[in-house]
Structures are given as structure tokens and as C-alpha cells.
């Protein structure tokens, strides 16, 4: 295992110390390992928090700041955080207007956030939760854990954070988050595996001529393993099932998000974006906004995911609103 760390046990703590040192203008790090917006709580503002396993940076900690998250709860690598963290974060950002939990749909995240929400509510804090489950690689079913939360989470955090910043109340912010979830779909693929530091070896074996289609952001196996193909065909294989969801139609405006998994050179993401643009344009869908880069990653995994969000004027306005975080920044 080749990593720039000291020991697997200290990695998350040390990275948090690094973030605290690098971004004191935006955030602070508190016990028990939570990243809190510097000026939280802001009286009267709905608090927006999220969290999940570490190893997906900049998500979530890198999205703490003005116009996005009020706090993030980083767990061990690829392991959802513990309720103590979400409870502490909820209290730290509660300005009296309630707190929204943005939860990615993983059994562990769901249960730990649930326990924390119960505890916070017991302490008199109003908490709402929205579950992001946008990964079309997974069959949606009432009888399973359902779909994973992936790239749509980044877009939800940005948009919802902007609404909360603008003073929207908890009900409005919660409904907006659900609206993002209802209009966003993603799919990813991997060329290589990631290595969980504590595990010390790659999560999956994959030969030099194969790729994993529909991979999860924790290196979970995807829909299928198959022979490596040219980038354009790979993009087709990801965009097609997203479009088959029936959400996106000719005449629609979308936000297209081409995301690197952590070990993917930016030049390759632009090669892919070119093809995404070509496919959507061909279908009469307008890419009104885009995001190209590595924002929700899986440690050093090489690969990409594509996320499409159907936009309306409200989503567009909140997407364009100022944001100032370590990972996303514009308008201020």
C-alpha cells in the first residue's frame, strides 16, 4: 500500500488538523471530529449538515463554509460517522431554526444519522432529514437498501446550502433538498481499485484490460465487469441508463457533473465532458451549468462518475448563488 500518511489510525485526525490549519477563515474542527463553519451557529439560519465516511474528499468537509454546509461529520475511511458526531454537529450549527441532515443512502449512514436525530430531537432541536439516493447503477427496490447516494449529494449540498444562506426555513430547505434528489441521477465506473488504509490492500482486483461499470464510491462492485473501452463508449454506458430514468427530456436544461474518482487526471475528465455534451446536445438537452473535477472521490481510485440534475429557475438560482468553501468557491 502506497499512501502519503503516517499511520492508518491517524490519517483522518491528521487530515482534519491540516484542514483546520489551512482554512481557519472558513471553518474550525471540534471534538468529536466535526468540521464546523467558522461563524456557526448563525442565529435564525437553518443549519445544514452532512457526513459520511472519509476518503471522499473534498466531500463533505471541503464543502463547509458560506453558502453550503454548516458542518460535516467525517467517519473513519469509508465508514459512516457515529451519532455522537452528528449530534455534536447538529448542536454546533443550530441557530434556532432547525437543522437539516443530508444523508447519503447507505445503511450505516441512515442508522447513525437516525440515532443522532432522535437524540437531537430529545434535546429539543428540530431536525429534518433527506436521503440522497441517485446511483442508477443500483436497481431501485422497496425490498432492498435501495440506491446509493453519490454525486447528487454534492449538488444537493450546494443548492440547499444556498437556500439556507438566503434565509429559507427548515420546511422549505427540506423540500428543496428532496426536489434535488427527485431530479438528480448518477452513474460511475472504475479503472482501478482503491485501498482502504486500514485494510492495506486493494478492495478489488481488476486486470489491466478490465473496468468496473456501476462501481460505488467505496469501491463496491458495480453492475458488471467488462473489457476496457474507449472513453466515448464508456460515457455512453454511463449516460444511457441515466437518461433511461425518464427524468430528462428534450428541451430540458441540466447541470452536467463529470466527477473524477480521485486518481483520474483532469485531462481525461474533459475528454469525457466533451462526449457528455455531444450526447446531450444530440438529444436536445441543454447543459446550462457544468462541474468538471474530482469532488466526490474514492481515495485513489481511477474512474469517473456522471451526474445529471434537471434544472429549473429555482435550482439554477441557488446553484449560481455565492459559495465560499475549500472545495467550491464562486461569487464571493
Amino acid at each position: 500500500m502506497k499512501k502519503l500518511i503516517n499511520t492508518p489510525e491517524r490519517e483522518v485526525d491528521e487530515a482534519l488538523a491540516g484542514m483546520a490549519a489551512a482554512h481557519p477563515d472558513l471553518l474550525r474542527v471540534e471534538e468529536p471530529n466535526i468540521i464546523v463553519r467558522k461563524d456557526a451557529p448563525r442565529p435564525g439560519k437553518v443549519g445544514v449538515i452532512s457526513g459520511g465516511g472519509s476518503g471522499h474528499e473534498p466531500m463533505h468537509g471541503g464543502f463547509v463554509g458560506l453558502g453550503m454546509l454548516d458542518a460535516a461529520c467525517p467517519g473513519a475511511v469509508f465508514t459512516s460517522p457515529v451519532p455522537e458526531q452528528m449530534l455534536a454537529a447538529t448542536k454546533a450549527v443550530n441557530g434556532g431554526a432547525g437543522v437539516l441532515h443530508i444523508v447519503k443512502n447507505y445503511t450505516g449512514d441512515i442508522m447513525n444519522f437516525e440515532i443522532a436525530a432522535e437524540m437531537a430531537q430529545a434535546e429539543g432541536i428540530e431536525v429534518a432529514s433527506v436521503v440522497i439516493a441517485d446511483d442508477v447503477a443500483v436497481k431501485d427496490s422497496l425490498y432492498t437498501a435501495g440506491r446509493r447516494g453519490v454525486g447528487g449529494t454534492v449538488l444537493a449540498e450546494k443548492i440547499v446550502g444556498a437556500a439556507a444562506e438566503a434565509g429559507a426555513d427548515l420546511k422549505t430547505v427540506t423540500a428543496l433538498c428532496q426536489k434535488v434528489q427527485d431530479n438528480v441521477r448518477s452513474m460511475g465506473m472504475a479503472l482501478t481499485s482503491c485501498t482502504v488504509p486500514a485494510a492495506g490492500k486493494p478492495t478489488f482486483d481488476i486486470s489491466d484490460s478490465e473496468m468496473e461499470i456501476g462501481v460505488g464510491i467505496h469501491g463496491e462492485p458495480g453492475r458488471r465487469r467488462e473489457a476496457l473501452r474507449p472513453a466515448d463508449e464508456i460515457v455512453e454506458m454511463l449516460v444511457t441508463p441515466i437518461l433511461e430514468e425518464g427524468i430528462f427530456a428534450s428541451g430540458d436544461r441540466v447541470l452536467a457533473f463529470v466527477n473524477g474518482m480521485g486518481g483520474t487526471p483532469l485531462i481525461e475528465l474533459y475528454v469525457a465532458y466533451r462526449k457528455v455534451n455531444e450526447i446531450l446536445t444530440g438529444k436536445g438537452i441543454t447543459i446550462a451549468r457544468n462541474l468538471v473535477g474530482s469532488y466526490i472521490t474514492s481515495l485513489e481510485m481511477a474512474g469517473l462518475s456522471i451526474t445529471l440534475l434537471k434544472l429549473d429557475d429555482e435550482l439554477l438560482r441557488y446553484w449560481d448563488a455565492p459559495v465560499k468553501t475549500p472545495g467550491l468557491r464562486w461569487g464571493v
Binding site: E84, T107, N112, T144, A145, A199
Partner: protein, 207 residues
């Protein structure tokens, strides 16, 4: 009668065996999950080991409630809330008793199991720890007349439950994302649950 010290030895044994099985559990989880189950469980049970010296002389309820709370606050993932809830309910069921008989033992484990189901909403054949836990608790309940035999039956039933669902397609937890590809893989959580019942048997037999 089972003393708090006996239960403490059970947790110690469970911690030691989880530590020994850390790689195996992680390996199982890397096939159909995210390669952290052994790491998660070991992190939690190591914390429990450190807790035990201060708890083994108190009541059984406190021992397991503290264990449950500690697991919830150290493990994370799916297994943290599930095992945490399991031990919390077990502790609540035992209350302030310091000596536990077979009937209370079975009732406590039933309460723990119900907590796991309430929290995780998994049923039989969803291919989770529940598939090992249900038959184990049923064996305990069925055997309260002969505790050593019941403990052995529970451990055997857990292993059988674990193996029974190996061919199945997972319907809960991370493995469910795999659909058909999850079939023919042993579930990591059912494996750690089997270790739990084996530890219980061996620790109480030794006592």
C-alpha cells in the same frame, strides 16, 4: 447463574476473536461490501476491552448498556448501530441484576435481536447478521433447561444460519447493491454474529 464477571469474559473473548478475525471479516466485506467490517468491529471491540476492567464488578445491565453505547460511538457503519443497539437492549433487559439465569439470558438476547431488527429492518433471508442471530436466539430459548447445551446449539445455529444464506442474493445493507453478484458470498455481519455466539459459549463454558 451467570455473573457480570462471566459476561465480561464473554466480551473479552469476543473482542479477542474479532481481533483475530479482523482480516477475514474485512476480506469478506471487500467481496460484497466496502472492506471495513473487520476494521470496524475491531475498533469497537478494542474500545470495549479497555472499558471492561471498570465494569466487571458492577451489574450486568450496566456492562452491556455501556458496551452498546461505546459501540455506537466508536464503530460507525452499519454494524455500529446494529451491534450497539443489540447490546443496549440486552443491558436494558438485564437491568440491575448481577446474576443472570438461563431464562433471563434468552429473554435478553431476544430483546437484543428485536432491537437489531427494529433498527435495521432486515428480515430472514435478507442475508445479514439477522440470519445468524435469529436461529441462535431461537436455540437459546429452546434450550433453557440445559444452558451449556443451549449455548452450544446457539453457536451451531448461528454458523448454520450464516452458511444457509451464503448462496442467497442480499437484500439489505451494502451487499444488496450488488444484486445477483452478491450470491455465493458469505456475509461478513453473519460471520461476526457467529463469532459472538461462539464466544458466548466458550467463555461461559470456561467459567
Amino acid at each position: 447463574m451467570i455473573s457480570t464477571g462471566d459476561f465480561s469474559r464473554f466480551l473479552e473473548t469476543f473482542a479477542a476473536r474479532i481481533h483475530a478475525a479482523k482480516e477475514e471479516l474485512t476480506q469478506l466485506d471487500s467481496a460484497i461490501g466496502d472492506a471495513d467490517h473487520g476494521i470496524n468491529m475491531d475498533r469497537g471491540m478494542t474500545a470495549i476491552s479497555e472499558l471492561l476492567p471498570g465494569l466487571q464488578d458492577g451489574d450486568a445491565g450496566t456492562l452491556f448498556k455501556q458496551t452498546g453505547m461505546k459501540l455506537i460511538s466508536t464503530v460507525g457503519g452499519a454494524s455500529g448501530p446494529l451491534y450497539g443497539t443489540f447490546f443496549l437492549r440486552l443491558g436494558t433487559s438485564f437491568g440491575t441484576a448481577t446474576e443472570i439465569g438461563p431464562t433471563e439470558l434468552a429473554a435478553g438476547f431476544r430483546a437484543g435481536l428485536e432491537g437489531v431488527i427494529a433498527r435495521g429492518k432486515a428480515g430472514l433471508d435478507d442475508k445479514t447478521m439477522v440470519d445468524a442471530m435469529v436461529p441462535a436466539v431461537e436455540a437459546l430459548e429452546a434450550g433453557i433447561g440445559d444452558l451449556p447445551a443451549a449455548l452450544d446449539a446457539a453457536a451451531v445455529a448461528a454458523a448454520a444460519g450464516r452458511d444457509r444464506v451464503t448462496p442467497l442474493v442480499a437484500r439489505k445493507g451494502r451487499a444488496s447493491y450488488l444484486g445477483e453478484r452478491s450470491a455465493d458470498h458469505q456475509d461478513p455481519g453473519a460471520t461476526s454474529t457467529t463469532i459472538l455466539f461462539e464466544s458466548l459459549r466458550d467463555a461461559l463454558r470456561a467459567g
